[in-house]
C-alpha cells in the first residue's frame, strides 16, 4: 500500500529499511534469479470514503482493507492514535466516532463514510490541552506514554457514557443512573491496557476531571 505522501525519512525508518534490505539480499535474491521477470500484481480493490476528522473534511480513495486506524495514521498522518495489538484487545487505537469510543483497528475506513471522528489531536494541542490531557499530566497518568492517547480518548467518552446513564458490569442497580466512582471507572476503562501499570494515576486523573472525590 503506497502512502499518499511521504514522511521525511527518520533515523528509525532508515534503520528498519536498511535491515529489511539486508534480509532481502540474503534470502530473496537467489530465488528471484531463477524466475521470469515478475509481473506487477493486480492492484487491489479501492473505494472512496468521505469523513470529517477533528473538524476537517477528508476525501480518500483507499484500498478496501484499510482500517480506520491505518487511514488516520498512514494517510492523514495523524500518528497520535497508536497501533498496539491491532486486534481490539489493548485499546491504544481508541478514537471517538460520532461521540462514541471505538477501536479504530477493528473498523474498516470505508465503513465510516459521513462520520465525524475525533482523535487525540482533535481533543487538544500543546498549549491548548483538553482538561483530560491536563489531568493525565498533573496526575502522572502514564509512564512510556504509548497507550495514553487511547486512554485519554476512552476516558473522555467514559464520562459521557456515565452521564448518558449507560450501565456497566459493576453498576449495582440497573434502575438507578450510574455515578462516577473509581470502581465504575476501573471497570469502564478495562478495554485500555497500560503495560507500565499507571492505572491508579489514570483513575485519579479521570476522577479529577469528573470533579468528584476519589
Amino acid at each position: 500500500m503506497a502512502p499518499s505522501d511521504d514522511f521525511p525519512i527518520s533515523r528509525r525508518g532508515l534503520l528498519a529499511g536498511g535491515a529489511a534490505s539486508v534480509a532481502t539480499a540474503a534470502v530473496a535474491r537467489p530465488a528471484m534469479a531463477e524466475t521470469a521477470p515478475s509481473r506487477a500484481p493486480a492492484s487491489p480493490p479501492t473505494a472512496k470514503v468521505d469523513f470529517e476528522v477533528n473538524g476537517t473534511a477528508h476525501s480518500l480513495e483507499l484500498d478496501t482493507r484499510t482500517t480506520l486506524l491505518d487511514a488516520l495514521r498512514e494517510h492523514l498522518r495523524l500518528t497520535g492514535t497508536k497501533k498496539g495489538c491491532d486486534h481490539g484487545q489493548c485499546g491504544a487505537c481508541t478514537v471517538i466516532v460520532d461521540g462514541r469510543r471505538i477501536n479504530s483497528c477493528l473498523s474498516l475506513a470505508v465503513q465510516h463514510d459521513g462520520d465525524r471522528i475525533t482523535t487525540i489531536e482533535g481533543l487538544g494541542q500543546p498549549g491548548n490541552l483538553h482538561p483530560m490531557q491536563e489531568a493525565f499530566v498533573v496526575h502522572d497518568g502514564y509512564q512510556c506514554g504509548y497507550c495514553t492517547p487511547g486512554q485519554i480518548c476512552s476516558a473522555v467518552a467514559v464520562l459521557e457514557e456515565i452521564k448518558a446513564g449507560i450501565p456497566s458490569h459493576v453498576t449495582a442497580d440497573l434502575s438507578v443512573a450510574p455515578s462516577v466512582t473509581p470502581r465504575e471507572l476501573r471497570e469502564r476503562m478495562s478495554g485500555n491496557i497500560c503495560r507500565c501499570g499507571a492505572y491508579s494515576n489514570i483513575v485519579d486523573a479521570i476522577v479529577d476531571v469528573a470533579g468528584v472525590k476519589a
Binding site: 473498523s107 476512552s154 457514557e161 450501565p167 440497573l174
Partner: protein, 316 residues
C-alpha cells in the same frame, strides 16, 4: 488480509440480492469479530456487503407484549435501553459482562450471536482445526483444553460459544428473525439456532448461506430476579470460564442457562424444574453426560458453586 470488494446496502432485500450476485461474500456490520478473523486470514471473503446502516437499529414492542430488537442495535444501546434494564435485566447484565466499552459500542445484536469461538487452536492457523479447516483434526482434544466444552462436544470439536448475551437470550426464550436470499422471512427459536458440532463443526448455525438476521425478539417479560454471574480469569474484559444466568421467581421456580460449557448457551428444561431443590440438583440435570478432560474438569464444580452463590443471592 486478503483483498475484497466492498458495497454498502440500504435494505435487507438489497443485502440478500447482493449476496446472490457475489459468491464468497460476507455481511459485515460492527465488524469487531469478522475483521479480526480477516486479519488472520481465518475468514477470507472476496466481497463485503456492509449492512451496518440498515434501518434495523430500533427496539420496538411486539403485539404479544415482548420486544423486537433490530439486528443492528448496538450492544451498548441494548444494555442501556430502559425497557431492557427494567424487564429483561438478564440481557443487560450479560451484555455489560462481555467485551469492552469500545467493542460494545460497535458490536451489534446479530453479530453478537454470530461471533465465532475463541478457541486458541481455531485462532492459530498453524494448528489443525476442524472448524477452520474441515477434516484437518482438532488440536484442542488432548491439547490445552482448560477453556473448552464439557457438554455437547464431539470427536471433531470441543469449542465453546463465547457470547454472554446469547446465554441471557436463551434463558428468556428469544427468537431469531431472518430473511433469506429469496426474500422469505422465517423465525428460528434461539434454542434451535446453533448446530451441534458433530462431524461438521464448521457449520455453526441454522442460517442458510445469504440468510440475514433482521431481529431478535423477546417474549413478554417473565418477572423474577435476574442474575448473570460470569467467572473469568480477570475481573473484566475476558471471556467466561463459566457463566450462570438465572431468572428466579419468589416461589423458587425459574430458569437457568450456562455459558462457557458448550457450543451454545446451555439450557435444559428438566434442570429448570430442579431449581427449588438447589444448585446440586440443577447442575446434575444441566451437565448430565458431561465429558471432561483433566484440564476442564474444574468446570463442573465451578458451575455448581457459582449457581449456589447465585441462588443464595436471588433469595436476598
Amino acid at each position: 488480509m486478503k483483498s475484497f470488494t466492498y458495497e454498502r446496502v440500504d435494505t435487507p432485500a438489497a443485502a440478500t440480492a447482493a449476496f446472490a450476485r457475489t459468491p464468497g461474500a460476507r455481511f459485515i456490520a460492527g465488524g469487531t469479530n469478522l475483521l479480526d478473523l480477516m486479519k488472520l486470514e481465518i475468514e477470507t471473503p472476496s466481497h463485503l456487503i456492509d449492512v451496518s446502516r440498515l434501518k434495523l437499529d430500533t427496539i420496538e414492542p411486539t403485539s404479544d407484549g415482548g420486544l423486537r430488537i433490530g439486528a443492528m442495535v448496538r450492544n451498548t444501546d441494548l444494555a442501556a435501553d430502559a425497557r431492557i434494564r427494567r424487564d429483561y435485566g438478564l440481557v443487560s447484565r450479560a451484555l455489560v459482562a462481555g467485551a469492552s466499552g469500545q467493542l460494545r459500542n460497535k458490536a451489534t445484536t446479530a453479530g453478537n450471536l454470530l461471533q465465532r469461538t475463541r478457541c486458541p487452536y481455531f485462532y492459530d492457523t498453524n494448528q489443525p482445526c476442524n472448524k477452520r479447516r474441515p477434516g484437518s483434526g482438532c488440536a484442542a482434544i488432548g491439547g490445552f483444553s482448560r477453556l473448552h466444552a464439557v457438554v455437547g462436544a464431539s470427536e471433531a470439536c470441543i469449542a465453546t460459544h463465547p457470547s454472554d448475551m446469547a446465554v441471557a437470550m436463551q434463558a428468556l426464550d428469544a427468537t431469531v428473525e431472518t430473511v433469506d436470499k429469496a426474500g422469505k422471512a422465517r423465525r428460528i427459536a434461539l434454542a434451535d439456532f446453533y448446530r451441534a458440532p458433530g462431524s461438521t463443526p464448521h457449520l455453526e448455525t441454522a442460517l442458510a448461506p445469504g440468510e440475514l438476521i433482521t431481529a431478535v425478539t423477546l417474549p413478554k417479560p417473565v418477572g423474577g430476579t435476574h442474575i448473570y454471574h460470569k467467572v473469568r480469569d480477570r475481573a473484566s474484559y475476558a471471556f467466561a470460564l463459566v457463566s450462570v444466568g438465572v431468572v428466579v421467581q419468589p416461589d423458587g421456580s425459574g430458569r437457568v442457562a450456562l455459558g462457557g460449557v458448550g457450543y451454545k448457551p446451555w439450557r435444559v428444561k428438566a434442570a429448570d424444574a430442579e431449581l427449588p431443590r438447589g444448585a446440586k440438583a440443577v447442575t446434575s440435570a444441566l451437565l448430565a453426560g458431561a465429558k471432561t478432560s483433566h484440564e476442564n474438569a474444574y468446570k463442573l464444580p465451578l458451575v455448581e458453586r457459582t449457581l449456589a452463590g447465585v441462588l443464595a443471592q436471588a433469595k436476598g
